[in-house]
């Protein structure tokens, strides 16, 4: 029996929210290997109770700063499903544009600001301002553009303002769209350079059998705005029946609920979407995937980074296409009316940057939310993250503890977990 040692990282950095890595080793034997989620619970599901449904997108977007657009979208979808509202084509296009903006913003933030420092062996992007000014400037430009897409559509890049069931409180104007179009075209070079940069980086390999999940849209668009939940196992589940596929449960070391699939560990997010829908990518994004040598059947969590780069290209192309389409006729669309004003239950399931997000509301006849349940992509990934940590540690045991800690941090970070979101 070897000496026992503990590897502990308190508050993993460069992720959103508070999580600790706790590993206890006895010689080569792993006694404990957990990702402790110590984020503070805020009880959003209870906060929503009793509130008028119009507030739901604005309350629930406060679950998370990084994916506030995603939350607002899932929320407004849930409300619309509950009230029997079918959003018009332009409304869907504008919302998808906003989502594309958020994807781009979130992915750039993750790959350039949070992950890239690992590749360059520095603690943050700050030293890179001096050492790799081009990389930093490019990242800042892309992020600014992504933020401006969100501001144009919904007023702010964090906490969208204009979301209502069936209508928009503000429609982007022609001049604004034209300005975006110009900048999107100009950004193609930056995305190209981004792909180039990440194609030249290499990451550890941790392979494990997992089930990938994503909610695929009918009609063949790349998964973003939701649809039935597809699994690499072949199973397909309707959004309202998400409970058949996703089982939430409590564990002692996490304020975020863990989720089990029908068949053990599941994974969502860029890599899962890529696995399930890579054929749906825009040609330029496919090309990026080829340059990044991203395999469709990759199960290596470190490949999340490459998949996010591919999806950045995708989001950018989609934004460009959507802006161009909206420019043909930017006039506002008439609001869609509720088919079921007395309320009922509705589920909004969308693909946010980190994976499948579910908002499930029951709305009463008084227009107030009776009950709410939210499932967050990071929660869906927690079991997988710990599984990967367990699979990764044996290849690290020979090394000094700080190195093990660093390697595990990188693994956790690769998933781009959003901890405050997962606890909500």
């Amino acid at each position: 029996m070897g000496a026992s040692r503990a590897v502990v990282v308190r508050h993993v950095t460069r992720i959103e929210g508070h999580g600790n890595i706790v590993v206890d080793l006895e010689g080569d034997r792993i006694k404990r290997c957990d990702l402790e989620i110590v984020e503070s619970p805020r009880f959003f599901e209870v906060l929503l109770q009793g509130r008028p449904y119009d507030e739901a997108p604005r309350i629930s977007c406060r679950i998370c700063g990084i994916c506030s657009v995603g939350h607002a979208t899932a929320s407004v979808h849930a409300v619309e499903a509950a009230l029997g509202i079918t959003p018009g084509p332009k409304l869907r296009a504008v919302r998808r544009l906003n989502m594309a903006g958020e994807w781009l913003q979130s992915h750039i933030l993750h790959v350039c600001f949070l992950v890239a420092p690992d590749a360059f062996g520095v603690p943050s992007i700050v030293p890179m301002v001096g050492s790799h000014p081009d990389v930093v400037k490019r990242a800042l430009r892309l992020k600014r553009l992504a933020n401006d897409i969100c501001c144009t559509v919904s007023g702010r890049h964090v906490m969208p303002i204009s979301y209502h069931a069936g209508w928009m409180g503000h429609w982007p104007e022609r001049v604004e769209l034209r300005a975006l179009q110009e900048r999107l075209i100009a950004a193609e070079e930056d995305l190209d350079a981004l792909v180039e940069l990440f194609a030249g980086l290499s990451w550890p390999v941790v392979e494990r059998r997992v089930e990938h999940l994503a909610s695929l849209e009918d009609g063949g668009a790349y998964p973003m705005m939701g649809g039935p939940l597809h699994s690499t196992s072949g199973a397909v589940t309707a959004p309202e029946a998400y409970r058949d596929a996703l089982h939430e449960y409590l564990v002692d070391h996490s304020a975020a609920k863990h989720v089990r699939g029908t068949d053990g560990t599941i994974r969502v997010g860029a890599l899962a979407r890529y696995a399930l829908a890579h054929q749906r990518l825009h040609p330029r994004a496919k090309d990026a995937a080829a340059r990044l040598k991203l395999r469709a059947d990759s199960a290596n969590p470190f490949d999340y980074v490459a998949a996010q780069v591919v999806e950045s290209v995708q989001a950018h192309q989609e934004a460009l296409d959507l802006v161009s389409a909206l420019l043909v006729d930017p006039a506002p669309e008439a609001p869609a009316r509720p088919g079921r004003p007395h309320g009922g239950r509705g589920v909004g399931m969308v693909e946010v940057p980190r994976g499948t997000l579910v908002h499930d509301y029951t709305i009463g006849a008084d227009g107030r939310i009776k009950s709410a349940n939210c499932i967050i992509p990071t929660s869906l990934n927690l079991v997988s993250i710990e599984g990967d940590m367990r699979a990764f540690v044996p290849s690290l045991v020979g090394r000094p503890s700080p190195e093990i800690a660093h390697a595990l941090e990188m693994l956790v970070r690769a998933y781009d977990p959003c901890v405050s979101c997962s606890v909500h």
Partner: protein
């Protein structure tokens, strides 16, 4: 010498820190005037030696209190950023109900270990002295930069004393209240350039109140525009429900007995 600044967060969505990261165009300039020594969301560095601490989030779990006190002890200037830190924000909406009930609904009644929660979600000022506040949910990046500029110049940040309506009117936004939409702009503190009404949502007073809010008149205004006075109270709960913040309006606008 560049002042050393640190960022911390408690119960929140970290959106305010994200707003700090979204100063892309001036980030290099910002880094040339301050030295960031601690910013978990974006860097590994964990300096304990700082002049200015920007703190986001409400106090929601028992450990938060001691941690905040430690930050206070180290920082020369403590700045609360965002509605959660300044007012309790959306988090304080949960204070309507006992925490045991919340735990029952969400965590099968567990309140131990990672599930522990303070009875009330509260703003930083409920525990330590806060030197300055940058309000909003989320904070406005321009206002943040203006505050940083004032602090590094050695003076106090400017805080507008008037209502969101002033900015809203100057922006030329048609008034939502006049159309019967429950807008709180007339009691809310300006500084956000009245962004919500401009994008078609009523102001929900995420920045708290201006200097002389008149809540009775707010109820009256709601009533005159075809809404109930109770609705005013209900809207005020959204961001301003922490005990001491609520005291200001609770007597003035009748609350519905609903949760």
């Amino acid at each position: 010498m560049r002042p050393r600044v640190a960022f911390f967060s408690f119960g929140s969505c970290e959106g305010c820190q994200l707003q700090v990261l979204s100063v892309e165009d001036v980030l290099p300039e910002l880094l040339s005037v301050v030295e960031v020594v601690n910013f978990r969301e974006a860097m590994d560095d964990r300096g304990d030696d700082y002049d200015i601490a920007f703190v986001e989030g409400s106090l929601v779990k028992p450990d938060d209190v001691a941690e905040l006190q430690q930050i206070r002890a180290r920082a020369k200037i403590l700045v609360a950023i965002g509605a959660c830190a300044c007012l309790g924000g959306v988090n304080a909406m949960r204070n309507r109900r006992p925490v045991t009930e919340l735990a029952r609904e969400v965590y099968d009644g567990r309140q131990d270990g990672v599930f522990a929660a303070l009875p009330d979600a509260s703003p930083l000022s409920s525990v330590v002295q806060v030197n300055y506040e940058i309000r909003g949910c989320p904070i406005d990046r321009i206002e943040f930069l203006e505050a940083v500029r004032s602090l590094i110049a050695g003076t106090v940040p400017y805080v507008p004393p008037f209502a969101v309506c002033v900015e809203c009117t100057l922006r030329g936004t048609p008034c939502l209240l006049e159309r019967g939409i429950p807008c709180l702009g007339s009691v809310a503190r300006a500084g956000c350039n009245a962004v919500c009404p401009a994008y078609g949502a009523p102001c929900e007073a995420c920045r708290g109140f201006h200097e002389v809010p008149n809540f009775e008149a707010l109820g009256e205004a709601f009533f005159r525009h075809g809404m109930t006075r109770t609705l005013a109270a209900e809207k005020l709960q959204l961001f301003n429900n922490y005990r001491e913040v609520r005291e200001a309006w609770e007597q003035a606008v009748p609350s519905s007995s609903a949760t």
